[in-house]
């Protein structure tokens, strides 16, 4: 008697939880579906290869797409080496005392700072103080700083997952610490580091607020010709078209198309990250 009501209660609760799970998947499906449907009229390869026309309300998205790729390139060149090497230092050279705790706090706090605040930093530090002006390099460096904590914590996690017995094996053969890191720690941590890098780049590709303050332009007739010129970028393009053109406010296919392109870029990178992680988790089973 009592047992029946207990089981009924359990069933009720479980169905509520199941509904929550379904709801989350549903939002993903709904958002993707609306973006796809809205973009159907412009969905073609031409859309990717043509520059925007008619005050951004016609044509394609090649200019902002290239701008975004340039930004990712700058992030890659600055954030990845600094981030990965910092992670190596923090996990291989820094002990486990209060110093390690301090670094952990620094990195986790940096990861929590809102992206618009990074935008302010970029504006004050790169645009104004360093005199780079509103430019590709100012925005790229801002995004690099924003990506740094992501790269560091991902790389750190990957490095710390390597069993210390392998480090000992290498040291016991007379390898120096650096040789051990170079020949063993980094190669074995590579998949995890790679996953972190991809996720950091995809995050940088999708950020709007920091570049809005540091150099993204509403319209450019040509590709950026140097790292000191202003640029169009995909996420800012979406925002600008949606909020500053009549066509965009009414849901023009152009804006949906740009959103789908950005989604494909970001989701594609996320999928690659998931696959890399899965593939290599099977290779190194310790």
């Amino acid at each position: 008697m009592n047992a029946i009501s207990r089981n009924a209660k359990e069933k009720l609760y479980f169905n509520i939880f199941r509904a929550c799970g379904a709801l989350v998947v549903l939002t993903l499906v709904v958002i993707m579906a609306y973006m796809l449907m809205g973009s159907l009229p412009v969905l073609s390869l031409d859309f990717l290869t043509e520059p925007p026309r008619g005050a951004n309300t016609l044509g394609g998205i090649v200019t902002p797409l290239v701008g975004t790729i340039c930004l990712m390139g700058i992030v890659f060149a600055f954030a990845i080496p600094i981030g990965v090497l910092s992670a190596v230092y923090l996990s291989e050279y820094q002990g486990k005392g209060w110093g390690a705790r301090f670094w952990h706090i620094v990195v986790s706090n940096l990861a929590g700072v809102p992206s618009i605040v990074y935008g302010l930093l970029g504006l004050a530090l790169f645009v104004t103080f360093a005199g780079l002006g509103r430019s590709l390099i100012a925005s790229g460096l801002t995004l690099a700083i924003l990506s740094l904590p992501i790269v560091i914590s991902a790389a750190r996690e990957a490095i710390q997952a390597i069993p210390s017995s392998l480090r000992e094996a290498s040291m016991a053969l007379g390898a120096t610490k650096w040789q051990t890191i170079w020949h063993h720690v980094l190669p074995y941590a590579l998949p995890g580091i790679l996953t972190g890098i991809i996720l950091a780049l995809s995050r940088a590709a999708g950020e709007t607020a920091p570049i809005l303050l540091t150099g993204a332009a509403f319209y450019m007739s040509s590709m950026p010709d140097s790292i000191f010129s202003q640029f169009m970028a995909l996420p800012y393009h979406i925002y600008a078209v949606a909020t500053q053109t009549m066509a965009g406010m009414n849901g023009s296919p152009v804006v949906y198309g740009a959103a789908i392109a950005l989604l494909m870029l970001v989701i594609g990178m996320n999928l690659v990250a998931i696959i890399v992680r899965k593939r290599f988790r099977e290779k190194y089973r310790w």
């Binding site: 002990g95 069993p163 017995s165 392998l166 480090r167 000992e168 094996a169 290498s170 040291m171 016991a172 053969l173 007379g174 390898a175 120096t176 040789q179 020949h183 063993h184 074995y188 290779k283 190194y284 089973r285 310790w286």
Partner: protein, 250 residues
Amino acid sequence: MSSIEVKHLNVWFDGKQALREVNMTIPEKGITAIIGPSGCGKSTFIRSINRMNDIIPSCRVEGRIMVDGKDLYGPEVDVTQVRKRIGMVFQRPNPFPKSIYENIAYAPRIHGTKDRKKLNEIVERSLRRAALWDEVKDRLDRSAYDLSGGQQQRLCIARALAICPEIVLFDEPCSALDPIATAKIEDLLVELKDEYTVVIVTHNMQQAARVADQTAFFYLGELIEFGDTAQLFERPENELTENYITGRMG
């Protein structure tokens, strides 16, 4: 002249003393077993011989360990050279997640042997020496993780032998292995003792009795008794030793 003279060795972890005033001379060639209950400092002792304790930041070592009349802890000493001449095999097999070939070739390579032909020779010689060659010669490029536990441990022995050490340390090499694999490793140890000074830590007294020429008994961080294996097991001089080998303590 690869005897190991240990003089007034004291080791601390985090300020807690793990070894106290150890004095002993491990003779050249032959097998020396270190026995004692867990926590008695036997692993700490063997790890101070090739200075593996240096890796642990909180560890402090005092005293001298002389090999060839040189103090391993002397100011002019290069740790990597110490470890090159004193090989080590660990409790659990720890091959690198690389091919069998690369596992063996790694150490000669970092110590300067780049010539492929020479490396091939070293790999074959080391694998033969570790009695593994016949089992793996057709699959040197396969991952070391495909080998069984016992094979992995022999691979680790071959890896240590590849740089021609004079002393080889074994830190409970059979604790993760089944009896058959253990027997193979023990046979191998006996074969190696003509050429190398072998020091083995073991929690298994039968193993010490089977393979060792000398045996040392450690208790609570101190060396209690050190002598000929047969004598130590049959006529121990110290009461603690007797209690331990007769099974009256942990």
